[in-house]
């Protein structure tokens, strides 16, 4: 069993989840220029809703769908109640509101029995069977299903943005809010939709991650931080960037874990390497691989 293909495959598996998480983040940034620090908490909320439903004896797939619907509504609610008032406020205020929200959601999850413990989904029968081997590396069915689901959702959103009227409307708002308004687009509706869609993808990411590596509040919400290297590398306002960035960060972090951990005393380079990449990207190409070049030099 060779090390390199194994690391690459593991990177793609985790990278597709990063991509899914980053997609929600990019959707919000692209439409409303809001950096959402609460994204990890929304991911956790989705995962725990699905888990709570399966605990009540609901079918796994149905529970996942309901969780996605719930976070769809949650995203819309957050936008309506909190973010709509913040339009035109300084960036620091908007950022801090989402940080505050992340703390609020953290607290709310701690009020349920799921805050402190660690749980795992009962793997559905279809996914628990024998996996396949790719390039001599075994992949479990859960992992394959996770990657396929993530890629499917990402593809669906790309299609949605390029072909559907609503998707094109959202892009128009992202490009120029004033112009979009003057041709009769409801910018508010687009903001709400962006948050809702972000919520939906967040729940999907949460459920997939929960299936693959178990459910803990810290682990799920921690993805919210991993999103930053991904979107900075891919470009803050690019859907393609989120996908490519997610895969790249996933692969890079696994490569660093595979090759650097032996050199660095104590190991664990996986946690810090993406952020070193982040700083390097900021210094060399701040708008990322696919982002719009809009940074003003001072």
């Amino acid at each position: 069993m060779d090390l390199l293909p194994q690391l690459l495959l593991a990177g793609i598996v985790i990278g597709s989840i990063y991509a899914l998480a980053a997609l929600g983040f990019v959707l919000i940034y692209k439409s409303s220029r809001v950096i959402n620090f609460a994204h990890g908490q929304i991911i956790a909320t989705g995962a725990f809703i699905a888990f709570a439903l399966t605990q009540r004896g609901l079918n796994f797939w149905l529970a996942g769908l309901i969780a996605m619907l719930a976070t769809f509504l949650l995203g819309m609610l957050i936008e309506r109640v909190f973010l709509r008032r913040m339009v035109g406020e300084p960036i620091i205020a908007v950022i801090m509101v989402t940080i505050g929200l992340s703390s609020v959601i953290d607290g709310l999850i701690h009020l349920t029995p799921y805050g402190a413990g660690s749980f795992s989904f009962q793997t559905p029968a279809v996914l628990s069977g024998q996996g396949i081997e790719v390039f001599g590396t075994p992949l479990s069915r859960t992992q394959i299903a996770g990657v396929l689901a993530a890629l499917g959702l990402l593809g669906a959103f790309t299609y949605f943005f390029n072909k559907s009227t609503l998707g094109i409307t959202m892009r128009a708002v992202a490009d120029d809010q004033m112009a979009a308004m003057s041709v009769g687009t409801s910018v508010e509706r687009v903001f709400a939709l962006a948050w809702a869609a972000a919520g939906l993808t967040a729940a999907a990411a949460g459920v997939i991650l929960g299936l693959m590596s178990g459910l803990t509040l810290g682990g799920l919400a921690g993805i919210g931080l991993k999103v930053f290297p991904v979107v900075i590398l891919g470009g803050l306002d690019s859907v393609i960037g989120a996908i490519v960035g997610g895969m790249l960060i996933g692969i890079l972090e696994n490569l660093s874990a595979g090759y650097l951990d032996a050199i660095v005393p104590g190991g664990g380079t996986r946690e810090v390497f993406p952020f070193i990449v982040l700083i390097a990207v900021l210094l060399i190409r701040p708008y990322g691989l696919f982002g719009t070049k809009e940074i003003e030099r001072v």
Binding site: I35, E89, I92, G107, G115, P265, I279, R297
Partner: protein, 357 residues
């Protein structure tokens, strides 16, 4: 001279020298003297547990003044202030344990170390603005935590204990610990606040505000925005470093948990609740957040005794982030200028009484 030495009935200033005076009336001077006396007497009046919180508030106030320098006055969002505090704390700890330096050398040394690293971290600000810079400081925070966790020199984030301190023949013991450090932290806080007050009166301080409000206009007026931003980072992280050194001595040990991301977020919350870009806010914010935290502890203890929640729910770990987050969100939505604005309004009320305006 004003018509009355005690109340300000109008603007009587006719010269620039008068305009630059700190105290407009004798009443203001008197109120300061009273405040100083109250502050000096405070440890004798307060119970020991509360005094500990007062000390924490004062240390956080030093860090929040620094955060205000970068975020409040210069507009550079800094999500890594706790890491700068940590740099100061670890530098202080190393200076005290390895080099056996006394605390009055070790703490400023921690400040200088934090300032150096802070300026280095601020370097991206030469090219980047707004959220990109926020993300850069966030990355520094995470890299800092990871690095400390992996350095054997720093006990991999475990506790490094600091030696007890002696001043004027009085030793820092278990019994007088809180009182002892109160009288050491208070002058440092006052000194640091005065330092910033006076930097703000110079052209360098005003340059920072100009850069925050509009950096292109500032550049057109001959201010170098890059230099101004680096100055802000240098000063801001110096304050954080000093706060970290004080914190290390006050806690008697340096542990990585005290300088984590959640502390950075707390410092930002303190700055915002107090009022970004205001000096009184740098005191009111920490006061409010620490008081809120203690209040939630008491409340959750009471609630925990009522059997309202299902088994396995730790009410304290739920209520504290909930209240904290709600505070930030509500302040930003309804009073973005923070407690400092309430302070200003109440001062105006008393000044103008019995008239409304």
């Amino acid at each position: 001279m004003p018509a009355s030495r005690f109340t300000q009935t109008g603007n009587y200033r006719t010269r620039y020298a008068q305009d630059q005076t700190i105290f407009a009336t004798s009443a203001e001077q008197l109120s300061l003297i009273v405040l100083v006396l109250v502050l000096l007497a405070l440890p004798l009046l307060l119970p020991k547990t509360l005094l500990r919180d007062v000390n924490l508030i004062m240390i956080y106030a030093v860090a929040v003044i620094g955060l205000n320098v970068t975020t409040g006055y210069t507009g550079l969002i800094n999500i890594g202030q706790a890491a700068f505090m940590g740099v100061g704390a670890y530098a202080t700890a190393l200076a005290a344990t390895r080099l056996n330096l006394p605390f009055f050398v070790a703490i400023p040394l921690g400040g200088v170390a934090a300032a150096l690293i802070g300026t280095f971290v601020g370097l991206p600000s030469l090219r980047l603005k707004y959220l990109y810079l926020a993300v850069a400081t966030l990355a520094f925070q995470i890299i800092f935590e990871w690095t400390v966790g992996h350095l054997p020199l720093l006990q991999q984030g475990g506790a490094i204990s600091l030696p007890a301190v002696q001043v004027f023949g009085i030793r820092d013991t278990f019994l007088n610990h809180n009182r002892f450090w109160y009288y050491l932290i208070l002058p440092v806080l006052v000194l640091m606040a005065l330092l910033w007050r006076n930097v703000l009166r110079t052209k360098y301080g005003r340059a920072l505000i100009a850069v925050r409000d509009n950096d292109r206009a500032a550049a057109a007026m001959g201010i170098h925005p890059g230099v101004a931003k680096l100055t802000a980072f240098l000063l801001g992280s110096f304050y954080a470093g000093v706060a970290g050194g004080l914190f290390a001595y006050f806690q008697k040990a340096v542990v990585i948990e005290d300088y984590g991301l959640h502390i950075s977020v707390q410092l930002l919350a303190m700055a915002i609740v107090g009022g970004l870009g205001s000096l009184p806010g740098a005191f009111l914010g920490p006061l409010f957040i620490v008081a809120l935290d203690r209040g939630m502890e008491v409340l959750s203890q009471w609630l925990g005794g009522q059997n309202l929640f299902p088994e396995g729910v730790d009410v304290a770990t739920a209520l504290r982030p909930l209240a904290f987050g709600l505070t930030i969100v509500l302040f930003l939505m309804f009073e973005p200028r923070g407690l400092a604005n309430w302070w200003r309004l109440s001062r105006m009320y008393f000044k103008k009484w019995p008239y409304k305006f």
